[in-house]
Symmetry: C2
Subunit: 274 residues, 2 copies
């Protein structure tokens, strides 16, 4: 193996979603090294831990370098098995448990699976309910149910409304509807009546017109819809309406749904619903 | 403040999604303590850090106890400002950077925002493409585009197919379609032809019939659709078809979308697409 390459394992007793996010984030701080990353979720028994150790030790032998292991393992025995493999062991979870016990003056429960699982069944139902709501109210349908909305995302077609609503539902359990501003609404220079009635829930998305044109061209053939002129007109009118009606808005061009979601929560003061 | 309560802050220079997941996971190990958690995302300047410090110090004064602070902050100056506040400081990120530098024999880049952002623009476009694909092929529509699918989730109505597909798209960038088995298909005792043609991509979801009945009753009034008899019949027929056709399947009753997603990735061997 090339000296600038390195094997890495991300090991968790649950989904590994958190371990993977933090592990990737740490490894991305070393852009000159090419990492070969293997994810091992649901390592929740000594039998499974032993199988993981075989993979780690084999990678050590084959590459001549100890693999980096990032782990979030609550069970002491399982963690013990993994930590004794031929690896450089980084314990993303337990590193903090003992100092936390000292600070809080109480022992930890050492129970697996209290996040990203079903332990909070009511909260989970709330998130799925929010996802269903986002789907049912997508693209301006079912405006009658806007009374249930905690937020209504407004913007031109293809400005990122739907992914943002689905992410707000999944990540935060927030009931998010979305409404696309159509040509005739844009021509009128003001918010449609159906939105005026829920003005305190509106949040706007805008986008760079050149990026909008690119997205529309990739997906649709209708020339007028994807023309530079049309995209520039729609974005300019939308932003003018947002400003005139005092609707908070963000530009989605350079932002991922995770960033949009976090910014929207911050700006609106909405709280996680579970 | 009640002695079993404690203020906690989760501070990040980006979305705080990772810090929040790990912080919540750590705090959930102390079920006897009631935590009052505040999330502070996008703390990426000394000005913003100073504002965060004011909040922390105020919580310290008001509660008479140092707040717990979980931080993922890449910038040394920002981190320095926060760490000098009146808090118990847990550095979820930097704790591992120096040991990693030693192991890798190279310095870290100290660059902010390499995860959950747009730095990987191609990967981000892939995830949004996958989300659009999941929406376009939801509920058995557009079966003509199954050639593009990497996985087709099959199951009865309300077994969790749509949230699972959307999560696979958002989290892993996987193109996931879903197909609901209808009454006439269940009566026939075999997979519909449109699925036979893509048999290597099928993945089944099943569910406890009592839970299914509960979900359907909450959402719909049609008595036959939500009857115990109908739910039991549908689930039994579906599982029989999965077994006869050798379609891998999971029971979604006790699993969150995060767990379903991670299990499906593991069982199918599909890889993250970005």
């Amino acid at each position: 193996m090339d000296p600038q390459s390195r094997n890495a394992f991300i090991i968790s007793d649950r989904t590994a979603v958190t371990a993977e996010a933090l592990g990737n984030s740490l490894l991305s701080q070393f852009p000159t090294v090419r990492f070969n990353i293997e994810i091992l979720p649901f390592i929740d028994s000594q039998v499974k831990a032993n199988r993981a150790v075989e993979l780690i030790n084999q990678a050590n032998v084959e590459s001549g370098q100890k693999p980096i292991v990032f782990a979030t393992l609550v069970d002491d025995d399982v963690r013990g098995v993994i930590s004794r493999s031929d690896c450089e062991f980084f314990d993303l979870f337990d590193t903090f448990v003992n100092p936390l016990e000292l600070v809080l003056g109480t022992e930890s429960s050492h129970k697996v699976g209290l996040s990203h699982g079903m332990s909070n069944a009511q909260g989970y139902t709330a998130r799925i309910g929010a996802m269903n709501y986002a789907l049912e109210t997508d693209d301006g349908i079912e405006t009658r149910s806007y009374r249930r909305a905690q937020i209504i995302i407004v913007g031109v077609s293809r400005s990122g409304k739907t992914p943002t609503c689905l992410y707000l539902a999944l990540q935060y359990g927030v009931y998010a509807a979305n409404y696309p501003l159509t040509d005739s609404e844009l021509d009128s220079n003001r918010l449609p009546e159906v939105l005026e009635a829920h003005k305190d829930k509106l949040f706007g998305l805008t986008i760079d017109p050149f990026r909008l044109q690119q997205i529309r061209q990739e997906r649709y053939n209708r020339a007028s819809y994807a023309s530079a002129r049309q995209c520039q007109y729609e974005v300019a009118q939308t932003e003018a309406i947002f400003r005139r009606s005092n609707v908070m808005f963000l530009n989605s061009t350079q932002m991922s749904v995770e960033e949009l979601g976090a910014k929207i929560m911050q700006k609106t003061g909405l709280k996680r619903q579970y």
